[in-house]
Symmetry: C2
Subunit: 209 residues, 2 copies
DNA sequence: TTATTTATGTACCAGTCCGCATAATAATCA
DNA sequence: TGATTATTATGCGGACTGGTACATAAATAA
């Protein structure tokens, strides 16, 4: 951010790069089970360096969460407005999410929010807010996406269908973390997209009675 | 279990009753964030007593998981075979699950497996096995349930639809833990059941081509 | 150079973690 | 009664927890 070099001793590591390593650690074990020593070992930095750069453990986790949410948005959302029909839009959306869940791994880590942070909503109100905010953002994006392909739907129907479409994502996230293989989830993503698109079609046809 | 009174000093607490308190603690905070002191405080027992009765922390968690799975079965499964049609069967199924998720609370704890244990699959292989086993059992029960109401479906279709129906449960579980209110989830359960039933109908009609 | 600012590494803190050794207690069995 | 068996409470140990104080190092500004 600062164009001019700052005063003082320059940081020896790239803050964003290290945040990705922090994110991965939290992603594997979750917030509570990940210690600062784990983070220190994974990043090669000492605890004081981590604290100076990111704040305490909770703040590190929230920063990792925010980065993850950004990656989800970057990978999944574009497909929602780049397809010819709702079904392929949703399939692209789910595929984008699965790409994040799996990365380059054979065994997925799943969704950091739905399969990790969700466990800590009983312990930390900030995490709880982040999780519910993510759900709302997801529902909102899907409502908008569905509405753009089926403008004849009224708001309530679009919202209701979006909540189903979001559920299909939670389905993928949970199964990915539980160990299902990518090809099985690809198939599930396809049937999910078809299912939602079919439901939208049925809802459109039935409505206006 | 022992009909005849055992030798030695009798246990001062009811093992099953205390297990429910242990379960609740794990349910609130998850495995990693729950300490033995938390369990000790919640049960009124000392750590050695807990160890003697249930084994170590992981074993306590696995016992709690098993109890939870039993409660889910008891509350949700009967509806699958006690309705006139698939849609109401599924709605009863989802309602039974929501009853467990909420208990007598206004704020649900969600599903212990899908919103708590899932975070620890990266740390403990036994927990991972329990989670994937739960998913398989759920899929199996729903496959069977769907097949009983739509016997014309072939096995692959029934399985595929069951995976969608399971996903709707994960949807409910996640949202419940994220803080959504019961009435919103009741509505979601109803629309979920309706759309799965609709998908089954569409799949039945389309098939045999 | 000298002063200032920031990052790093060592070392440590007080508290908590899980687990257990020990001894006292309370029941049955002989 | 005495021996046996099991549960209880006390208390500790050793490792680990998140977090920080302090001295050192490395940069810029004057």
């Amino acid at each position: 951010m600062p164009v001019r070099p700052t005063r003082g001793r320059p940081r020896k590591f790239d803050k964003e790069e290290v945040l990705q390593k922090i994110l991965k650690e939290f992603w594997i074990r979750g917030f509570a089970a990940t210690s600062l020593d784990d983070l220190s070992a994974a990043t090669g930095l000492t605890r004081p360096s981590l604290y100076a750069a990111y704040g305490n453990k909770t703040q590190m986790y929230l920063a990792a969460l925010q980065s993850f949410v950004g990656q989800m948005s970057d990978n999944a959302l574009p497909a929602l407005s780049a397809a010819d029909d709702l079904q392929s839009a949703l399939e692209g959306f789910y595929q984008g999410a699965l790409n994040v869940y799996f990365g380059s791994r054979k065994q997925a880590l799943g969704c950091l929010v739905f399969t990790t942070a969700i466990a800590d909503v009983g312990s930390d109100t900030q995490i709880k807010k982040a999780v519910s905010g993510f759900v709302e953002g997801l529902d909102g994006a899907l409502t908008q996406g569905i509405h753009s392909y089926a403008p004849q739907l009224d708001a309530a129907h679009a919202q209701s269908l979006a909540r189903l479409a979001s559920g299909m994502l939670m389905n993928l996230a949970t199964r990915a973390r539980a160990g299902e293989k990518r090809d099985a989830l690809d198939e599930l993503a396809a049937t999910s997209a078809a299912f939602v698109a079919q439901a939208v079609g049925a809802s459109s046809g039935r409505k206006k009675a």
